[in-house]
């Protein structure tokens, strides 16, 4: 069969490897459409021919589940991620997250690159972190919000922003940035990428779901820097 997978765009690098490995092992073909989680979720709502949806955003998966568009009980938390503070490699900012003033001093009057803080998961998590650290009110006027986490990453990679908050996986893949600090995982809700089969269920989709849970697939995800849900 041909399995159509809708996946959050930020998963493209790892998902390309996973699907290639899956296609080697099975006689299914996988088509993956990468776009923002919100766009994909809306399309599924409007009857898109997706068999599997991997979202970067729990909210949108909840939204679909509430409309009974998922194959019951197929939803699982596939991956986790961590949130990091980055800066361009050649600017080597020194920030001590335990000291509140440190981040603000490091920023000076330069912007802090993030994804949309009220809309895009990476931004929402980032805002939560800054709030729990008591920094949000001081920092928020300086936050430059990109439409997705890659945009924030690019701003830092180009050196336009001195600091940015992105996923650990993004920071790892971009050689022009270095991780200044990793935010403690207890300072925000768990960063989870849920996956689910979209109704109606099919053999191919089930096989693919099974494969995603396999240790082989998990290893690929891990190699891209994702954490696994246990």
């Amino acid at each position: 069969d041909t399995i159509t997978v809708f996946a959050a765009a930020s998963l493209k690098a790892s998902m390309d490897d996973v699907t290639a490995a899956f296609e080697d092992k099975s006689d299914h073909k996988v088509q993956t459409s990468y776009a923002g989680s919100s766009a994909l979720a809306r399309q599924i709502e409007q009857g898109a021919p997706a068999d599997v949806f991997i979202s970067a955003n729990v909210g949108w998966m909840d939204h679909l589940e509430a409309q009974d568009l998922l194959v019951p009980k197929s939803r699982v938390a596939l991956l986790t991620n961590a949130l990091v503070l980055i800066s361009p490699v050649d600017m080597d900012a020194d920030v001590d997250l335990s000291r509140n003033a440190s981040l603000i001093e490091a920023l000076g009057d330069t912007p802090l690159a993030m994804a949309f803080v009220d809309a895009v998961p990476a931004g929402i998590y980032g805002k939560a972190v800054l709030t729990s650290l008591g920094l949000w009110d001081a920092v928020s006027p300086k936050v430059a919000q990109a439409d997705n986490v890659r945009g924030a990453l690019a701003l830092v990679a180009r050196g336009e922003a001195r600091l940015g908050i992105v996923y650990a996986t993004d920071a790892r893949a971009e050689p022009r940035v270095s991780v200044v600090a990793t935010f403690p995982s207890d300072s925000h809700a768990p960063i989870v990428y849920p996956v689910a089969e979209i109704a109606p269920s099919s053999q191919g989709a089930q096989d693919f779901m099974t494969y995603l849970a396999s240790s082989e697939a998990q290893a690929i995800f891990e190699s891209h820097g994702f954490g696994l849900v246990h």
């Binding site: 159509t4 809708f6 765009a9 930020s10 493209k12 690098a13 390309d16 088509q31 993956t32 459409s33 990468y34 776009a35 766009a39 994909l40 809306r42 399309q43 409007q46 009857g47 898109a48 021919p49 890659r150 990453l153 990679a157 993004d170 893949a173 971009e174 050689p175």
Partner: protein, 233 residues
Amino acid sequence: MIATLGFSPTEWQAIGLSLKVACIATVFSLPFGIFVAYALVRWNFYGKHFLNGLVHLPLVLPPVVTGYILLVIFGVRGPIGSFLQDWGLVFAFRWTGAALAAAIMAFPLMVRAIRLSLEAVDPKLEQAAATLGASRSWVFLTITLPLAVPGILAGAVLAFAKALGEFGATITFVSSIPGQTQTVPSAIYALLQVPGQEGAALRLVAVSIVLAMGALLFSEILARRASKRVDGA
């Protein structure tokens, strides 16, 4: 193989699809563009300003919004989409949908260009044609339309270029399914999601540019030929 120019099969598919989408979008919207432009220039009707506004809407709205509106209207569950589906015409998640999105996004550009050229046609010539027995539609076909060729060509090439570059509405409406709805811009977008793939993205950008410049040059040549017919020996 040299023939692949280093592009993967899905990328080749995307290039072919983009070309197909841009051509179809241009060709099919052209008659509507001409019609709407003509109506705006020469007719007086109730709701003219509304039509004019409607035509410009895709320009004003963020493409995502346009895409979303298309999804809601032309999706399989949408009012028009479900109706057309009964007639065998499916837009949702097909290349046809990409063409529709491109056509709608390009429509204001096309209409404006044609409208400007139609406005520049001297009504005295149309009158002269009428005194020679030409009905309104014949006047339109033999006088107005040929004299508006510069604008029609400009409109077509703008639409084609826009269709090649359209991304936001397309990916929102028909997603980005390789071989089905993944056009060059969505492929570029996907590549940009992967750090370190800028080079690959750049090659696709180059392809877009080459295609658009080709179309541009072609239209300039046609326009020059058409204007030679009017201006010189």
